[in-house]
């Protein structure tokens, strides 16, 4: 990779952010710091402000109060093109123009590196090829994006974000609309990008178990506030799931990864706190269901 020796020291912080859309306050008093070179997941219930936080961190949304600091400088005061060489964001539902080919779309990620007088170079060619190889989209190069499956399309968009060549990558629910196999495929890819190239990754994920497995650092939000922060082991507890998602659950070690695994209980199961998980009585009380 031509940009292999990337520095992993770019920092991203939020200081006392108040975020609002049209005067409607969405988040208040958010202060946090994204660990460089790690994968950070933002989790929380619907409408808790996690996507809004991601938009603010990526300068798409200007905070009402407070500031986002990129390498210690206010992100809104830095030239947007400079920011674009350090930080890239993949929005939740990006738009592909009609008839665009995969190679053309990925190549558009090079925008911040191009100048009026020097529009395309062989190093650009190398970077977009690397991005397409990494995401397994090279074979699709001449295909039109319109005719791809959801999983393929998501990988193409990630390739475009990769082609931007930023150390910080922010992704808003990169696994939505994908089946389980494709979700894991996308998350594996992000882990590789982090592991092999030291990219700092920040993403919003809906699935808590995925968030536990695929991140070093978790940010849990409720009603526009940060309620817990730390490693998955520190953050994901039965109490936190109850508090953030209003959901009763069991938290067990994931048999594969050893990370916390959340098993929701729901209304139809009666599980008392004393019930032993090993005895299998957790499933008792299933309405008309199997016998324990």
């Amino acid at each position: 990779m031509s940009e292999m020796s990337r520095a992993t020291t770019h920092t991203l912080q939020a200081q006392e952010l108040t975020l609002a859309y049209d005067k409607v306050e969405v988040a208040k008093d958010l202060s946090l710091s994204i660990p460089p070179g790690k994968i950070t997941c933002i989790v929380g219930a619907n409408a808790c402000g996690k996507s809004t936080l991601l938009r603010a961190l990526s300068r798409l949304l200007k905070p009402q109060e407070g500031s986002v600091l990129l390498d210690g400088q206010c992100i809104h005061r830095l030239p947007t093109k400079t920011v674009a060489t350090l930080l890239g964001i993949l929005p939740q539902s990006p738009i592909a123009p009609e008839g665009i080919t995969v190679a053309d779309l990925v190549a558009r990620g090079r925008y911040p590196h191009q100048k009026w007088f020097r529009q395309w170079s062989t190093s650009d060619e190398q970077v977009i090829t690397d991005a397409m190889v990494a995401t397994g989209t090279l074979d699709l190069a001449t295909r039109s994006v319109d005719e791809l499956s959801g999983g393929q399309r998501q990988r193409v968009w990630i390739a475009m974000a990769l082609a931007q060549g930023t150390d910080l990558m922010l992704l808003d629910e990169p696994t939505t609309f994908l089946d389980l196999a494709h979700q894991v495929e996308v998350l594996d890819l992000l882990v590789e990008l982090n592991h092999e190239e030291g990219r700092t990754i920040v993403m919003v994920l809906h699935d808590l178990n995925h968030a536990c497995r695929y991140s070093h650092h978790l940010l849990a939000m409720r009603d526009g506030r940060l309620v817990a922060e730390g490693t998955p082991e520190q953050v994901v507890t039965e109490a936190m799931v109850k508090d953030v998602f209003h959901l009763r659950s069991r938290v067990l070690p994931d048999p594969v990864s050893g990370t916390p695994m959340v098993i929701p209980i729901g209304r139809h199961f009666n599980v008392s706190e004393e019930d032993s998980i090993a005895s299998g009585t957790a499933a008792a009380g299933v309405p008309g269901g199997r016998h324990a």
Binding site: P94, I100, A103, Y111, D130, A134, P253
Partner: protein
């Protein structure tokens, strides 16, 4: 219960492109560019041929062999006169007006990501039309005054649409909806003015509204020629941010594009081109609307600016040729022919959008 910290076993590296992969990407991109170049050359050749035929045919036919010398000021005095004062300025106006409409439509449609967002659908040419009819009917002006009025009308309407559609930035859908509303208001205003007009003025106004190249002289070539000369490089420079803007506002911003600023520049250039073209030849129906999709289908590219301009020029040249010769010696306004080409496409587009349920 104790959790293990996850061990991220990523296995052997998958992120390193072999050198032959680079050539796969390069070839994929070259193929697209080559196709664009071929389409450009074919369209340009078509333009050259129809331009020559357009200068050659008429009540006083000039053999094709004498056309080129006559264009450059040689040949018999008769041919020289007819070419230099009658047919050459007319053909040049057709070429430039078609090119300007093609550019304008392509910019609007790519910017709005909507095939309906062309200046002739969203009311910009309707604004020019209403202003021109006002000048013809109420003020009683003609020629240059009508052209200037049309220019002012187009620019004023564009500004009105922009401010009516503005709400924390411009969204394509609002632009199209507001534009269609404004176009309806302006066309009823135009109709009202026509009912108040004397019959001869009403006829003149109607011909102007259809879009006509009859009797176009050098005074019509000059403004649109200068505008194309000045704005062509600007369009080429703005193509790069436009390519990023096509990916949606968030992605464009993420790529470091000053979204609102470049959108304003692009709208300004597209409006200026449509306005100048309309002031020279009237609102020639549907050229800005159909030229870009024709170019897009030919090139199979997602952004086609120059091919759209070439397609627009060819469309107007061919349509004017048909309009002049179909019922010779009576010359039809060119807008009738482009309307015949464009209206079915509009119907098809609306029918398809309804079926798909996306509203375009």
């Amino acid at each position: 219960m104790p959790f293990r910290t996850p061990v991220l076993d990523t296995g052997p590296s998958t992120i390193s492109a072999p050198s032959d992969a680079v050539s796969i990407v390069a070839r994929a991109r070259d193929a697209g560019r080559a196709r664009g170049a071929v389409v450009g050359v074919v369209l340009a050749a078509g333009i050259a041929v129809s331009f020559a035929i357009s200068v050659s045919v008429g009540d006083f036919p000039i053999p094709l062999a004498e056309v080129v010398p006559a264009i450059f000021g040689f040949g018999s005095p008769d041919a020289h006169f007819i070419v230099q004062t009658l047919r050459l300025p007319r053909a040049l106006t057709a070429l430039l007006v078609g090119g300007a409409f093609g550019f304008s439509g392509a910019i609007f449609q790519s910017l709005a990501r909507n095939p309906l967002a062309s200046p002739d659908i969203i009311g910009i040419t309707a604004g020019a039309g209403a202003a021109a009819v006002f000048i013809i009917v109420v003020v009683g002006g003609g020629g240059l005054l009508v052209s200037l009025g049309a220019l002012a009308g187009a620019l004023g309407t564009a500004a009105a649409i922009y401010f009516l559609a503005y709400r924390r930035g411009i969204t394509a859908y609002r632009l199209v909806l507001v534009g269609i509303g404004v176009a309806a208001v302006l066309s009823s205003l135009t109709s009202y003015l026509l009912t108040r007009a004397q019959i001869w003025e009403a006829q003149r106004a109607t011909v102007w509204l259809t879009g006509s190249l009859n009797g176009r002289g050098w005074e019509h070539v000059r403004p649109v020629g200068l505008a194309m000369l000045a704005l062509f490089p600007v369009v080429l420079l703005l193509a790069r941010p436009l390519r990023a803007l096509q990916l949606g506002d968030d992605t464009a911003k993420s790529l470091g594009v000053g979204v609102e600023r470049y959108r304003r520049y692009l709208i300004l250039v597209a409006v200026a081109l449509a306005a100048v073209a309309t002031s020279s030849a009237g609102p020639v129906a549907f050229v800005a609307f159909v030229a870009p999709p024709i170019a897009r289908r030919l090139t199979r590219s997602s952004l086609t600016l120059v091919p759209a301009a070439l397609a627009g020029a060819l469309l107007v040249l061919l349509s004017d040729l048909v309009a002049r010769r179909a019922f010779a010696p009576t010359e039809l306004p060119v807008g009738i022919i482009t309307g015949i080409v464009g209206a079915p496409y509009l119907l098809w587009l609306l029918a398809r959008a309804n079926r798909v349920g996306t509203g375009g």
